[in-house]
């Protein structure tokens, strides 16, 4: 089996989900310069709601695809409601406050959502029922499953839809105008509050779907899943240039691939026994042993190291505009 291609496929799948979540961060940031720390929790709630509905529907013998669709259809409005509520209650009153104030409320909202989920679903891990029979196809020596194909198709479909929404519709124009200059956009007749609320709603809806996909891919959902997913997605958004929509997509996919490749290769690369000059000097290597400096448990480090390296050389992300220093 071709390891490289396999890791690229796995990375692409995870990365496309990161990208969709990253969109939620980047759209909100682009429009009100707020790191919505609670977005990861919205994704988590989407996955939890969908899994609950799906598990409840399984005994009725509906076709698997219908069940998943119903589950997702239930998750989307719940997430949109959560997204709207937090914008309205926790962020809107602070729109003109010092910059770090909404960051702290975002942290507060994140804590609240996570523990509400804990209250509702307890600490149990919700498992995705074995209803979808996944087939595996071989492409050039690497395996790709139906689920992966579906995830890729849905994610890229949603990204395309969002791009059309943002660049081809009146709402999108209003969003871009508000992002550029809220005051002027307001003078031009854009209802800023509505545009911002719409941004949160769209981000939350995307997050809900991403949550379902992520949960389906790994087969489980738990109340803690939002924080690490959110962290990765946020890194992806920054990697691409925060506030930049194509940047979030690129950053997400890139992050997923780098992470998968890193995890796939680091163990072999840092196995000192693989190097002929070093092997005889290390006792552990005798008899085909291994002396691995960094194993795949360093997977999460990769994402961050790449992020730091990119930002050192391109301080505003890959596609981010070079904002001139404040005059």
């Amino acid at each position: 089996m071709d390891t490289f291609l396999q890791q690229v496929i796995n990375g692409l799948t995870a990365g496309s989900v990161y990208a969709v979540v990253a969109l939620g961060y980047t759209m909100v940031y682009g429009i009100i310069q707020l790191i919505n720390f609670a977005h990861g929790e919205v994704v988590m709630i989407g996955a939890m709601v969908a899994f609950t509905v799906i598990n409840a529907l399984v005994p009725y013998g509906l076709p698997p695809l219908t069940i998943v669709l119903i589950g997702t259809a239930c998750a989307i409005p719940v997430c949109m409601l959560v997204g709207y509520a937090m914008e309205r209650l926790a962020y809107r009153p602070l729109r003109h406050a010092p910059r770090l104030a909404p960051l702290i409320t975002a942290i507060g909202v994140s804590i609240i959502l996570q523990h509400l989920a804990l209250l509702i679903w307890s600490r149990n891990v919700l498992a995705f029922p074995q209803i979808i029979v996944s087939r595996t196809y071989l492409i050039g020596g690497a395996a790709i499953s139906t689920v992966q194909v579906a995830i890729l198709a849905i994610c890229f479909g949603m990204m395309a839809a969002l791009a059309i929404l943002v660049y081809r519709t009146p709402l999108g124009t209003a969003m871009r105008a508000t992002a550029q200059n809220p005051q002027v956009a307001g003078l031009m007749g854009v209802d800023i509050n509505r545009v911002i609320a719409a941004t949160f709603l769209i981000g939350a809806a995307l997050g809900a779907v991403a949550g379902v996909l992520f949960g389906t891919y790994y087969g489980i959902a738990q109340y803690t899943m939002g924080s690490i997913l959110g962290l990765k997605a946020f890194s992806a958004a920054v990697l691409g240039g925060i506030g930049n929509i194509p940047g979030a997509m690129l950053g997400g996919v890139l992050l997923g691939i780098v992470e998968a490749l890193g995890a796939g290769y680091i163990g072999d690369l840092t196995n000192l026994c693989a190097y002929d000059t070093l092997a005889p000097r290390i006792a552990d290597c005798a008899g085909g042993g291994n002396f691995v400096l960094f194993g795949s448990n360093y997977q999460d480090v990769f994402a961050f190291i790449v992020l730091i390296l990119v930002l050192v050389f391109r301080p505003s992300g890959l596609l981010g505009e070079r904002v001139g220093e404040r005059a």
């Binding site: 770090l100 104030a101 702290i104 409320t105 804590i111 609240i112 920054v238 448990n297």
Partner: protein
């Protein structure tokens, strides 16, 4: 005269406090000790965030570096047992080095980009601590390091009870006085820093970096100094944490802790030393007070515990964060500069 009376009153109440708390339970002395550690952390972070305006979301990494430095040099893990007055400066220096390591590559970054890089840095440090047990065991990984030496000077150990002048000094009480002393020293350093040449340079960088550079401030060195100094305070606090706990593991240095310290600084009032102290004390005591009240209140109301106290405690905590920020967006005790900015903004 009146002022000195106030100072004396505060001093006496701080001195008597642990004995009063010990009446309720030694746990409360311990909680107070941890609260003081958080004050140290928050004051250290305040240098970076409040004074220099560099948002650092990975501050707990320096706490971890200090804690692990102490643990490795004073525990059976490597069989080293250096005295604490030697290790604490080493820990502070190592933490400062890590601060430079974080600061140097990120000098060009601003605002939220800096925030995410520092966050990543914190996670990297934690992941390394978690995994540096193989192939060579350095940190013991998730198991952590146990049986760390307590502080001791010349045979006088800070752990364990003893009776001095008819008063019963338990271990936590002795640590309380030590922590209090360190905290006072850190407060004095901070107060002196704020109005020094360095402090004013930081403030200038925070307000407008280009203008600061035009005024002849070496912004690069000043930013690095802020990182290193903030980190060294974190390192000292970490060393003390290690000794008090006698056990550390990567679990204590997760992202939530960094977020918590940032919350303390912002909630109390960034840049205002007294505000930061207030924020740290509030955020470390509130969850504890809730822990001890939530369950009895539920029992009294419903006759049984309906909701896990831990859950309701965190819910109330999150709610408190949101509410305080909604009603006091500049923090509970805003710094003078910020107050000025806010009123100007309003008019």
């Amino acid at each position: 005269m009146k002022r000195w009376l106030g100072v004396a009153l505060v001093a006496v109440s701080l001195a008597v406090l642990p004995f009063a708390l010990a009446q309720i339970g030694t746990t409360w002395v311990r909680i107070t000790n941890y609260a003081i550690l958080y004050v140290l952390l928050a004051l250290g972070l305040n240098i970076v965030v409040g004074f220099a305006g560099l948002l650092d979301l990975g501050y707990i990494a320096f706490y971890a570096v200090g804690a692990y430095t102490y643990a490795l040099l004073a525990s059976p893990h490597f069989g080293l047992h250096l005295p604490f007055w030697l290790i604490l400066p080493i820990g502070a220096a190592v933490a400062a080095l890590f601060g430079l390591l974080l600061g140097a590559p990120t000098l060009k970054l601003r605002g939220d980009y800096l925030a995410i890089v520092t966050l990543g840095f914190g996670e990297i440090v934690r992941i390394f601590l978690n995994n540096l047990s193989r192939p060579v065991n350095i940190t013991s990984g998730p198991q952590g390091i146990a049986r760390i030496d307590p502080f001791s000077i010349d045979g006088f150990s800070f752990a364990g009870s003893q009776t001095i002048a008819g008063l019963d000094f338990s271990g936590p009480i002795k640590y309380y006085y030590l922590l209090l002393l360190v905290m006072l020293a850190v407060i004095v350093v901070n107060l002196r820093l704020q109005n020094s040449r360095i402090g004013r340079a930081w403030e200038a960088i925070r307000e407008d970096e280009i203008a600061a550079r035009a005024m002849g401030i070496n912004t690069r060195n000043m930013k690095l100094l802020a990182f290193a100094m903030g980190a060294s305070f974190g390192g000292i606090a970490g060393g003390m944490f290690s000794a008090i706990q006698a056990f550390i593991s990567p679990e204590s240095f997760v992202l939530v802790e960094s977020v918590m310290v940032v919350s303390m600084v912002v909630l109390g009032g960034m840049g205002n030393i007294w505000g930061v102290i207030l924020g740290a004390l509030l955020l470390s005591f509130t969850p504890e007070v809730l822990r001890w009240t939530v369950e009895p209140v539920q029992e009294a109301l419903f006759g049984r515990s309906l909701i896990e106290p831990e859950v309701i405690r965190m819910l109330l905590f999150g709610l408190a964060l949101v509410l305080v920020m909604l009603f006091r967006p500049a923090g509970l005790l805003p710094s003078a500069v910020r107050k000025r900015e806010l009123t100007e903004h309003a008019t």
